[in-house]
């Protein structure tokens, strides 16, 4: 039996350590961000020295490296591009991922680096793909609203490589078309500052009816069971989302997808049991998004989903002070009296009722604000860096 051509497995590399994990566990390519021009401002991101080292490591193991330049750049940022692009070409990166037409033009003028179109450009149809190919793009990372079958058609009609997300967090909005963060926090979501307003708890009101819900929070994408379709339809690259995710996440997913892809391409059999690996990393409830048919209500969190064990990350422990109290960097609001969970390194989950919350001066706080540090009671076994979370949110 002739083996099928396996699509490229593209894994996220939030930093040099994660790049090496991804490559060692089977990624055919990795994508990363430099210090500027990308959409994951909060990620560690790579210095130029780290990019050079990462490219050398990846190439030595037969993997490719793509660097994101996918922010919606303003003029002064475009002016800063040339030295960085020339540096990237000098270290022989394999492609840049770009979302802005002006940046596509600049990269073409400055270098021979292949250009992939970011999902942020929301390319969803054949005519759009043809337009971008004319602009010099060699691969399109399709919007997550496109199905596998539609992607194959785009590939065929536009005669261009296509890449699809196969796993990870999803925006609710069409990528690049959301500015919720811009007008609530002043953080431009299309330039790396997204505050993820879609993940917040909202109170919805309509003609006297009031409901509390995470109505804009999308489930995570999981295309594992659709590996046969991805391969059979000839999709060129399968992308795992998650430059902000942990090395454990990157390694676990990359290994599982790599193994399943190789197995299917060699034997044309799909081992569904491998999907259990995907349950071992932190994730939201899974859905198949629009990979088969348009994502609908089943792709959104509901109250019921939260009752079945979804967690909210409330923050992380910054310091455990002499077994007296703990200092927490707050990510999501929590209240005095609430019981939270703390995920320890070696002692499992600890439960802590917040009998008191105060600031560093000891002033009582009833409800915390994200972006602050608060003091909570000491809990044995907890260490700095541990995650504080709650099961659902009331």
């Amino acid at each position: 039996m002739n083996s099928l051509t396996a699509p490229e497995l593209l894994a996220p590399a939030g930093n040099l350590q994660k790049l090496k994990v991804a490559v060692r566990y089977g990624a055919n390519a990795v994508y990363l961000g430099g210090q500027k021009f990308g959409l994951r401002s909060a990620a560690d991101n790579f210095t130029e020295l780290e990019i050079a080292e990462g490219v050398e490591f990846a190439h030595a193991h037969g993997a490719k490296v793509y660097v994101v330049l996918n922010s919606f750049l303003h003029d002064k940022e475009v002016e800063e591009l040339p030295p960085f692009v020339q540096f990237l070409e000098s270290v022989q990166i394999d492609a840049v991922i770009v979302s802005d037409l002006g940046v596509v033009h600049q990269v073409r003028q400055l270098s021979q680096i292949p250009i992939h179109l970011s999902t942020q450009s929301s390319c969803l149809n054949i005519f759009a793909a043809k337009f971008w190919k004319k602009q010099g793009v060699s691969r399109i990372v399709l919007g997550r609203e496109v199905s596998i079958a539609q992607a194959a058609l785009i590939k065929k009609e536009a005669k261009i490589e296509v890449e699809m997300f196969i796993h990870g967090a999803m925006c609710m909005s069409i990528s690049g078309k959301c500015s919720l963060s811009n007008y609530s926090t002043g953080r431009d979501s299309n330039r790396g500052g997204c505050a993820q307003n879609c993940r917040f708890l909202y109170r919805l009101e309509n003609t006297g009816k009031t409901i509390e819900s995470y109505f804009m929070s999308s489930k995570d994408l999981n295309g594992f069971s659709l590996i046969p379709q991805f391969v059979d339809y000839g999709i060129d690259s399968l992308k795992i989302e998650g430059r902000m995710k942990s090395p454990l996440y990157v390694g676990t997913l990359t290994a599982a997808y790599s193994k399943a892809l190789k197995q299917y391409c060699l034997t044309r059999t799909y081992d569904g049991s491998l999907s259990q690996e995907l349950e071992k990393v932190t994730h939201r409830a899974y859905c198949s998004g629009s990979l088969v048919s348009p994502a609908a209500e089943e792709s959104v969190y509901t109250e019921r989903e939260h009752e079945e064990g979804d967690y909210t990350s409330l923050g992380n422990i910054l310091e455990v002070y002499q077994q007296q109290f703990m200092m927490v960097e707050v990510r999501s609001a929590f209240h005095q009296g609430e019981t939270v969970e703390i995920l320890t390194y070696g002692e499992g989950v600890k439960y802590l009722q917040l009998s008191s919350i105060c600031n560093v001066l000891g002033e009582e706080i009833l409800r915390t604000n994200p972006g602050t540090v608060v003091r909570i009671p000491f809990c044995p076994g907890v260490e700095a860096g541990n995650i504080v979370r709650s099961k659902g949110q009331k």
């Binding site: 005519f127 609203e145 539609q150 609908a296």
Partner: protein, 384 residues
């Protein structure tokens, strides 16, 4: 500068004609995100507009997978003959019109197109077929003025109306409010997670849209926009009662002709804001988020500020292997780039007890420093 707006009835078209408007926007709900007009209504309105000597512009601003693209083309077969110019948002729609038709194209950018290089590419690619660009409504005045001076294609600004903040094809309200099987479902959304005005959520056949609680308005800046030689000023009043639309439109015209914007402000029924028009400060926030590590390389990093209470304290996580010490000279650099140099004369630990030194990976507190916020970085200063 011309005014342009949507029309939804024969009466509106006639009123706009009487007011001196030369162009109107007609949006069929089949291919336009925020409309209630059926295709046959739009066809009739377009014909009426043409009969009156107005230039109707077809609004085709949905984003489309190929399935919805094919449906759109079916609608367009009866719509296109009535229009010489089409306003589009999807690059696929641009390409289709450019390659398959001879229509003039108006390019709606909304959130993209923040650099001149990209706009010049569009201008060159579409050439004489590019009728107008409606650039991002996030451009500040300085950028808008600059773009106007560098581009030959006419520019139109979004000047007044609701501001859509997100767009998904998913039906987000159906699980909660679908009891009446309405074609359009609306709700108000409030969150305590961040300080923001309530959102208006609208779900229709194209998906679900969130709108800012305040409408976008550049009416008070009309004289300035005229000085920039902006060609058109777009007004979208479709969300307001019909009786009010004419009065508001006339009020906007009066401002354009030199009247103060105060009477407009008192007439407009909803709160408004100007977005990033005065200055797009998301740039400053952008550097705060993206350049941390780069900033780390600018000096010998000592600590990262995580907790600030105005007038009280500033708390930072110590990153330097030697820790932070009382008497140490430091330089604080805010996310906006402001710098302050001082010597630590009071140092506290996480219990707010005075200490001589705080070790790496521990919290250090000093008295609050004005102008320094969370995410500021602290570098080692020169020796004292």
């Amino acid at each position: 500068m011309k005014l342009i707006t949507y029309a939804e009835s024969f009466v509106e078209i006639e009123e706009l004609k009487h007011l001196g408007v030369l162009e109107i926007l007609l949006a069929p709900k089949s291919i336009s995100r925020f409309s209630t007009l059926a295709d046959d209504q739009v066809i009739a309105l377009a014909q009426h507009a043409r009969d009156l000597g107005l230039r109707p512009i077809l609004v085709w601003d949905q984003l489309m997978t190929d399935a919805s693209f094919e449906r759109a083309l079916t609608q367009l077969s009866s719509l296109l003959p009535l229009f010489d110019v089409v306003r589009v948002y999807d690059p696929g729609a641009v390409e289709y019109l450019f390659v398959e038709t001879d229509k003039q194209i108006q390019l709606l950018l909304e959130l993209s197109g923040h650099n001149l290089a990209g706009l010049l590419v569009w201008q060159k690619y579409l050439g004489s077929r590019l009728d107008r660009i409606i650039p991002s409504y996030e451009l500040d005045q300085e950028t808008l003025k600059y773009f106007r001076s560098q581009l030959s294609v006419p520019l139109e600004v979004y000047g007044l109306g609701p501001l859509s903040l997100s767009y998904t094809p998913r039906p987000l309200l159906t699980p909660y409010f679908a009891a009446n099987n309405q074609e359009v479902i609306r709700a108000q959304a409030h969150t305590e997670e961040v300080h923001q005005s309530d959102l208006t959520i609208v779900q229709n056949q194209h998906g679900t849209f969130t709108f800012n609680g305040r409408d976008f308005s550049l009416v008070e800046f009309m004289p300035l926009l005229q000085s920039f030689e902006i060609n058109c000023f777009m007004v979208d009043l479709r969300h307001l009662h019909q009786e009010l639309r004419k009065k508001l439109f006339i009020s906007v015209m009066n401002v354009m002709h030199g009247e103060s914007a105060e009477s407009f402000k008192s007439l407009y029924p909803r709160p408004t804001f100007r977005g990033f028009f005065v200055k797009n400060k998301s740039d400053a926030v952008f550097s705060k988020l993206k350049n941390q590590k780069r900033d780390r390389q600018l000096g010998e990093l000592l600590a990262e500020v995580l907790d600030v209470s105005k007038g009280k304290y500033l708390g930072a996580m110590v990153r330097h292997p030697h820790g932070m010490q009382l008497g140490q000279a430091i330089m604080l650099r805010s996310p906006e780039g402001k710098e302050k140099h001082l010597v630590i004369n009071q140092l506290f630990d996480a219990a707010y007890l005075p200490v001589a030194k705080v070790a790496k990976d521990h919290l250090a507190y000093i008295p609050a420093i004005s102008g320094m916020s969370s995410k500021a970085l602290i570098f080692c200063g020169t020796s004292h």
